[in-house]
Symmetry: C2
Subunit: 417 residues, 2 copies
């Protein structure tokens, strides 16, 4: 992509203040735009990152046998009454009427729809287990919104639902999802901690959250650095300094965390509400045991920025960066600089490498370098009239301090490995 | 994919009647599910087709320099008042309030949001042209819904918006989009006709629709079979039998059509509403000239089924089929049949071919063949104990009448070409 054509205008100064670094940097780098409080557009750079995260999630869930569907957002009141959540959801549902005065919601979660869908297709134990997921828009009627993509009113979520003959089969799958989630977050370069938490209206059982422990988080987590046992403060009876109740060795710390995912045992709550039964091997009708598992994709993206940034901008992990290489010709109007840049641009594309080339002529070298740091593409390649005389370009990893002079060929060989 | 695991239950008998063949077949084949009137879920088979169509659209739009974004559905009243459409949209907007009693809509189209977005980023003629598209959910508060995915209340649409310094530049891009659309529909194996139509509240100018002329369509189109001139009856002064006003040779026919896309010159309507100006070369402030271009992805999918089916089921065009090869072992519990099937299943996957293998043991050969015809995968491969004795499998194209006995190796070589 040629940067002169890219729909992105980085901001030099900010007219307002931001509660979080991720909001500030994603806004400043023009990855996102805010239409209203808690409602965002993803611009080309932001959407590229978002899609890469989506694809990581998709790949890892397909590995554990989950199939992708796409469920509607607009949902009739009747199914929310069936689950007794029309009036009790917290935050309360967005509610609206159609032209026939029928009531609908735009859904914050999809237990109702998916249980109904599965109920119409399952009759025997042979039909189970089933795991279905979607990556789709959600609406939450929050009272307050926080930190840009960290807590939005409209956001894209991956929600996975699983259906089982019994608790044992459910528990096995629950563990598989935990492993898949750790793989997802690892690929996103996030260290997350499995944290015991409350059911949040989905269940009365203990559930699990994946928390990224950083000061920018809004949650409080009791955490054992020795065995990684963790409990959300909301359900914990621990206090800082306590001996870890699990390993009996570590000392409990109270830390801030961002919840990037949650997983819930749903038991037969929704199966009962939607009469989701199956005939077991013994010929008896039984309720299906369910689980649900969510990842907020936008929040995950923001959390990555919270962890991976410095004072100059974002440091995208390689697998989710909007581009892999950023060519920065300091003087694009100098013909030799332009020529070397465009040749390298083509050569990189031939290798299948995603590359952004800053061909803007109305920006100073200083502005270009500042933008490159802000946008945070893993490899920065500076092409300048100074070094190009000796046939060299300056390569630098965004996460590294030092740069290196190499020939374009050496750089290509480095990436080819 | 092993069919025993696939989340899809084809229906043998139908409890209700369907207005269109596409609705019936997509429902019967379990590509889609209906949650409420005009509101659908895409199940795994349906989502696979939908995504392939999305990707064709994406590829062809990127070829004409359009960049992808993702805009929110939830939109504040203020921007719809700015464009004077809060009260005048037809069908009327879905309206709702948040917890602060602020009014919102869930949007049927995105002119307001995108114009505002571009206004904040464009100041000079150097910033233009710009072309932005998204593939995103839309909500339309229709009084009546028709034919399943043909006219839904919630649906996924590709909407493209372009921004230009003047009419001439706009007209050039408009022609590029027309060509891109024809390429998209050709890849979907649809013959479409560029049809003059009304502005539908977007503009007072003549606009263009892409109509697929088939009896199942709900629109009426005057059409010249000689030069392909076409006019929507809503704006036409022609009558059947007239001499074509364009080529003066053909005789005008009145035909039924499905509108699969539309393109609108928007002029400066939204630029004026959102003060979207730029400084031209002569230093003067001018309004940006806009165009918008839509394709309903679900409707396109349904139209393909309207055109490509027979009495037994769907006949998916190769590029958008949910899978490319359907292996149908008639007796999966016969070990030789199972062995040959699974070997072929693996060999096909190694070639990167998407394959569905009907490993279901509780289905009769008749049921399996019926399902294969219904689902409509381009290649059907029957593996049976009868033919496997002589080392042969029966291959048949879904669109062809006759089948052929070949060895698995011959089949693999055929696909390898």
């Amino acid at each position: 992509m040629l940067q002169s054509k890219l729909f992105a205008k980085t901001k030099k100064s900010l007219a307002k203040s931001f509660e979080t670094e991720s909001f500030k940097l994603l806004y400043k780098g023009d990855f996102i735009d805010q239409l209203a409080s808690g409602i965002f557009s993803l611009l080309p750079l932001g959407l590229r990152v978002h899609r890469k995260i989506e694809n990581i999630i998709r790949e890892e869930l397909q590995k554990i046998g989950a199939q992708e569907v796409y469920l509607p957002a607009l949902q009739p009141k009747s199914i929310w009454e069936a689950s007794n959540r029309w009036k009790t959801m917290d935050p309360p549902l967005f509610k609206l009427k159609d032209r026939h005065q029928k009531e609908f919601t735009i859904a914050p979660t999809h237990e109702e729809v998916i249980t109904k869908l599965v109920q119409e297709r399952v009759s025997s134990y042979k039909d189970l287990p089933i795991a279905l997921f979607q990556i789709q828009v959600k609406f939450r009627n929050e009272l307050r919104f926080f930190g840009g993509l960290l807590r939005a009113r409209e956001f894209i979520m991956k929600d996975l639902y699983s259906f089982h003959t019994d608790q044992e089969d459910f528990r096995k799958y629950y563990q598989k999802v935990i492993k898949a989630y750790f793989r997802i977050f690892k690929r996103c370069k996030l260290k997350s901690v499995l944290t015991e938490a409350s059911g949040a209206g989905f269940t009365n059982e203990i559930t699990h959250e994946f928390q990224v422990l950083i000061p920018a988080g809004q949650d409080w987590v009791f955490y054992c650095p020795h065995c990684e046992f963790a409990q959300n403060r909301e359900i914990s009876k621990l206090k800082a300094g306590d001996k870890c109740p699990k390993c009996k060795k570590g000392k409990i710390e109270l830390q801030r965390g961002i919840e990037i995912a949650n997983i819930f045992p749903l038991g037969d709550k929704y199966s009962k509400a939607f009469n989701l039964k199956f005939k077991d091997k013994d010929g008896k009708d039984k309720y299906v045991i369910m689980g649900c598992y969510g990842i907020g994709v936008g929040r995950l993206m923001a959390t990555i920025v919270e962890v991976w940034h410095d004072e100059n901008g974002i440091i995208w992990p390689e697998e989710i960066a909007p581009y892999f290489v950023h060519l920065v010709p300091l003087e694009f109007n100098v013909s030799k600089v332009k020529q070397v840049s465009l040749k390298l641009y083509q050569d990189l594309q031939k290798l299948g490498i995603e590359v952004l080339c800053d061909d803007r002529k109305d920006k100073s070298p200083g502005e270009k370098l500042k933008d490159a740091d802000l946008i945070g593409i893993p490899w920065r390649v500076v092409i300048s009239k100074k070094t190009i005389k000796s046939g060299k370009i300056e390569i630098k990893k965004r996460c590294a301090k030092s740069s290196k002079l190499v020939t374009p060929k050496e750089f290509l060989n480095l990436l080819r490995r």
